[in-house]
Amino acid sequence: MGDNTRHASETVERFLDSTLESVDRAEELAVGAAERAGFDEDDLMKIGMAVRESMVNAVVHGNRYNENKKVRLSVTRNSSRFTVRIADEGEGFDFDGLPDPLASENLMRTSGRGIFLIRSFMDEFQVRRLDPGGTEVTLVKYMVSK
């Protein structure tokens, strides 16, 4: 694959059902686009996991598996940024109120690590409330010229 192909712009957009199958589908789509963008295996794993964790939040905590609600996935890339946006139609979630999973009192908790992993694996992570309802997360990985 030549550099021109690797760094060409690309946009993928899907409206996905609120199911765990959609979590797998979103991960496949994002990792496929990241692979075409030229990310190495380590970054592909990080992007895939960040997308998976974000999709789980959208499907499970946002839309609560509601079959009437969709999750919008968009993946875009240009020469400098690989961006994934995931939006649900849920009632919103207080991302700032999450306990620190690395604090000693939380270390043995069985949940609460998803957002921490997303922040660890991506270069940027933003959350915004949508009007009239829903939450959109934006995940960004910087493109590195090879």
Partner: protein, 114 residues
Amino acid sequence: MSVKLNVRQVGDVSVVDVAGRITLGEGSSALRDALRDLVSKGQNKILLNLGEVSYIDSSGIGELVSGFTSVRNAGGELKLLNLTKKVQDLLQITKLYTVFDIWDSESNAIIAFK
């Protein structure tokens, strides 16, 4: 795509060979069921062989923590064997690497059970 589990007995230690993906849904619930089943049968020396685990998400990590706690509460021990680099990295960034008893050699791990 999902997880495969095989339980074998080595002396009084139950070795659970795990292969595939431990993720929310089928993967994590299969692991939870296998560990619960062993503990309910009084098998509380458990060695979890993760050598063929290609992927684990936060739900899978939660199942490892849950299994560790439930086996310990039953008076036993759960140890981990053959971590792939991906799983090892995940346990390190979540600060769980020092919580679990982690081994590279099955025979040494088995000897280490009290």
